[in-house]
């Protein structure tokens, strides 16, 4: 049940984020939308790897290495999420930097004003 | 057949006969025309006198080399055409140089004189000459078409391109003539015949007052004399081809004289009856009437 709710929440976040990113003209709002969407993706990632009744895949005294495979949840999605978050951060930072440069050029954050390149 | 020196003498004899025949016949035709109009007409020797007069002229001009050569080409074309076609069927003497080539040679050699004349007239620099040439060439492309088809049809009919063999196939009875065995082809070819004899209705090439007689407008004296000679020789040579292909050829000079005269008169009769066509009118005429007959001829043969 729990993974399903998490996954549904994740997809809902993705859709909300995308909707926000694609309907708002303000570049900052768009970036925010994408951040929300990538958070949603992360939730989905985690929910896919979750198994009910198991513990976190951390090899310490609580979980001996010998029976780890039976007691921990799948560690791979967790690792993926960590990586994805880091990358998401990088991309968001870059987008914000771009937003700054764009504002410097045109004194506007309206995406529809940057259409000199077309056709 | 191979070449022997005596052939030259024979050829000269043919040429002599045909030129004299042509001189008299064309004068006679004019005389007949005059009589029909109620006139007495020119003396029968008038062609000879005109020829002598033109040769006797004292001052001459030349516009250049091609101008000079034009009449030479013209007469060579006429003489050659005559000599490449057997004149009298069955006679060794009057086979001329027909071993040099067949019907196709005759068909294409017709253009030799035309080309030379056109070049000569061109070099005279006279715009009227060029206009005449332009008209003549334009008209002849359409006029020759039925003949080409007719020739194709009879070579299919007789399965040969050899004129002697074609004449041989028509011997025996008058009903063996192509005229009767293949009337469509004959009609098609006669379109071309009438179209290329420089007589009305197809003589806008020469329009005497508009473009003073067209291509030869600058020619005079001996040039003109050569062209006059060709003017009597060439039609006869051409008629000989038609005679051989469609009217059973000739086995002796009397038959030759009668048949050539009769065939020649076809164009004369049409000429005195019909008024002149403009060039595009005559092109359309040949495409509308001559071409379908020609196509029928090659399809039905």
């Amino acid at each position: 049940m729990l993974p399903t709710i998490a996954m549904a929440t994740g997809f809902a976040l993705i859709l909300m984020g995308l909707y926000g990113a694609l309907t708002h003209r303000n570049i900052l709002r768009m970036i925010l939308g994408f951040t929300i969407a990538s958070t949603g993706v992360n939730v989905v990632l985690v929910s896919v790897g979750y198994m009910p009744g198991r513990t976190a895949p951390i090899m310490d005294s609580a979980v001996p290495v010998a029976d780890a495979a039976a007691r921990v949840i799948d560690p791979v999605p967790q690792a993926l999420v960590l990586t994805a978050i880091v990358i998401g951060l990088g991309v968001t930072a870059l987008m914000l930097a771009y937003a700054y440069r764009l504002f410097r050029i045109r004194h506007s954050l309206d995406i529809s004003k940057f259409t000199e390149l077309k056709w | 057949m191979t070449f022997e020196w005596i052939h030259i003498a024979y050829a000269a004899l043919t040429l002599f006969i045909v030129i004299n025949y042509g001189m008299i016949m064309t004068a006679l035709v004019r005389k007949i025309g005059a009589r029909v109009g109620g006139r007495y007409g020119i003396p029968i020797w008038q062609n000879y006198i005109d020829l002598a007069k033109n040769i006797a002229l004292r001052s001459k001009i030349t516009h250049g080399v091609m101008y000079y050569l034009g009449p030479v080409f013209r007469l060579t074309g006429g003489v050659g055409l005559l000599l490449f076609v057997p004149t009298i069927y069955g006679s060794v003497m009057f086979q001329n140089f027909s071993y040099a080539g067949d019907l196709i040679l005759a068909l294409y050699f017709v253009f030799f004189g035309t080309l030379g004349m056109a070049l000569g007239a061109g070099e005279s620099g006279h715009p009227h000459s060029a206009i005449g040439v332009s008209r003549g060439l334009a008209q002849v492309t359409a006029a020759e078409l039925p003949l080409a088809l007719g020739v194709y049809a009879i070579s299919l009919q007789y399965q040969t391109l050899n004129i002697t063999e074609i004449v041989a196939a028509q011997q025996g009875s008058i009903f063996n003539w192509t005229l009767f065995t293949n009337p469509l082809t004959t009609i098609a070819a006669m379109f071309a015949f009438v179209g290329t004899m420089m007589r009305s209705p197809f003589d806008v090439v020469l329009a005497p007052q508009e473009i003073p007689i067209g291509p030869p407008t600058e020619y005079h004296s001996a040039y003109l004399a050569l062209m006059q000679t060709n003017r009597v020789l060439f039609p006869v040579a051409k008629v000989v081809i038609y005679m051989n292909l469609f009217f059973g050829g000739a086995t002796n000079w009397a038959e030759f004289a009668i048949k050539v005269f009769a065939i020649y008169m076809v164009s004369v009769l049409i000429g005195v009856v019909y008024p002149r066509f403009r060039v595009e009118q005559s092109i359309r005429f040949f495409l509308k009437w001559g071409l379908p007959v020609g196509i029928l001829a090659i399809l039905t043969v």
């Binding site: - | 006139r39 002598a52 001052s59 407008t217």
Partner: protein
């Protein structure tokens, strides 16, 4: 009644300018070179007419003269009202063809120039050109009194009076106008002259070329052509 009275004669004091197209000019060739063009010298043969001797043999010349007499080709060039009298000659009633007389549309092929009546100065220029372009031997027949002494135009400001001051006339046919019968009779007379070998007008023209030219030029105002039209 000479032509050369002062009302009629050309003003020779002031030079009449050449027509624009006959004036010397400079032309650039495709290669960019500038060349001089003198139309009169470049376009026209400048030779004077030659006197052509008779054939060495009297028999040949006799034969030639017979042929010339029996093959008279008239240049179809009507100058005055007499031109109308030429046409009936082709009809069944007169039928000049039986005498070997025919009409040709180009001077190159004609031997006989018929000046058929009065000759205005403008037409004279054309008649001279046509005459000069005919090959020798060539004959001139003057038709009617206008060619003899000006006739009814004796005091005209614009027509010449005596044709033989400009062209060598072989024969006049008098009358105003002469009937076709008179023309035929005249041509018969011309034939006789030719047969006798006396119709040497072309040689006379060549021999007295300067005199003829001076006369011609004294009445023709814009002489925009070479002295002799070949």
């Amino acid at each position: 009644m000479k032509d050369l009275d002062k009302n009629f004669k050309k003003d020779t004091e002031t030079e009449f300018p050449l027509r624009e197209e006959m004036r010397p000019r400079k032309v650039t060739t495709p290669d960019g070179q500038v060349i001089d063009i003198d139309p009169l010298a470049d376009y026209f043969c400048q030779e004077a007419p030659k006197v052509h001797r008779k054939s060495y043999s009297a028999i040949v010349e006799g034969f030639y003269n017979w042929a010339r007499a029996n093959s008279l080709w008239i240049l179809g060039f009507g100058t005055g009202c007499g031109a109308i009298e030429m046409r009936p000659l082709m009809t069944p009633r007169f039928d000049a063809y039986r005498y070997g007389i025919q009409w040709r549309p180009t001077p190159r092929q004609a031997n006989l120039l018929v000046i058929s009546g009065y000759l205005s100065v403008k037409t004279l220029k054309r008649a001279i050109r046509a005459y000069e372009q005919m090959p020798q031997p060539k004959f001139v027949v003057g038709l009617g009194s206008c060619t003899i002494n000006g006739g009814m135009y004796w005091d005209s400001y614009n027509t010449i009076k005596k044709l033989d001051e400009y062209l060598p006339v072989d024969l006049y046919i008098a009358g105003c106008m002469p009937r076709p019968e008179a023309l035929l009779a005249g041509f018969m007379e011309l034939k006789k002259i030719i047969r006798k070998g006396e119709a040497e007008g072309a040689n006379k023209y060549a021999e007295n070329f300067d005199w003829y030219k001076a006369n011609q030029k004294s009445v023709i105002k814009d002489w925009d052509m070479p002295d002799y039209s070949w």
